[in-house]
Symmetry: C2
Subunit: 148 residues, 2 copies
Amino acid sequence: MSGVLHVLLHMAEEDRPATSEMLAKAMQTNPVVIRRIMAGLRERGYVRSEKGHGGGWTINCDLSTLTLRDVYQALGEPSLLAIGNRMESPDCLVEQAVNAALGRAFEEAEAVLLSRFAEVTLAQLSTDFHQRLATLKQSHDLETAHAE
Amino acid sequence: MSGVLHVLLHMAEEDRPATSEMLAKAMQTNPVVIRRIMAGLRERGYVRSEKGHGGGWTINCDLSTLTLRDVYQALGEPSLLAIGNRMESPDCLVEQAVNAALGRAFEEAEAVLLSRFAEVTLAQLSTDFHQRLATLKQSHDLETAHAE
DNA sequence: CGTTACGTAATATTTCAAGTTACATGAAAC
DNA sequence: GTTTCATGTAACTTGAAATATTACGTAACG
């Protein structure tokens, strides 16, 4: 999630398509990993990919309408919580009681997280980034931003 | 978490100490795993362990004062969320903006989860269990009463 | 066509939690 | 006392899931 948002915002700063290789280098991972992650975003039309010379990835939507929740869903809605119930429908009545109590807490926490995600657009993040940039009066590009 | 609560409630139902082996069998795991998990609870005085013949684990506190949050803390406060920020303090301003937004959402969700945990005592879970037991007995009796 | 770049299946690697073994300590039974 | 039962822990092994890599296919551009 964190990594995808990072990639998307960097793409938004580039005026030319960013190749999987460039993005992978910036994220310290493999180009194939980038392509896998981006596949879900492409299906929903949030980004576009071009093959061949001058090809690569570009943003294909209005960042002010793209929320963190949209991105989360495009990633296949991976589980948000690190802990959960041991079993889904246990016969043991003790475990049923435990599941009921924990389950309520889990659902509430997930709901909070998703609703916060829905409140934040990529455009807001971009604005935040540009404010940080102005404050530090730094220049910016994909390569130097991730120099060692 | 789920497993520990399960174990504690079963212990509360036993009038004699429960051995790690018994508990491990019930949880389909290894006795050593039980001991490891219980170590944190023992340190805080929630349970007590006795060696030798007739030894094992017993509850050592008032379940009406023991909350899910207490148990969670006794387990070493493992991370609650499955996702997080890629880096703690990134140089990249884009990543800083992403971290700030996601971080707020994460903290809120964790706070919700912890506050729900703090609201539920083990005694409440035990009551819930006994209610389920009573309900089931009743329907069992009804069934057999109308059988044949 | 040759080069560049994405698409994706298949495979390999890494990582981390969970399980296991081994042995030490202490308490009760005999 | 010594035998048996049980916990206490360190060290090691296993296994499953996430991640990374390889390999090969397709498409675009010059």
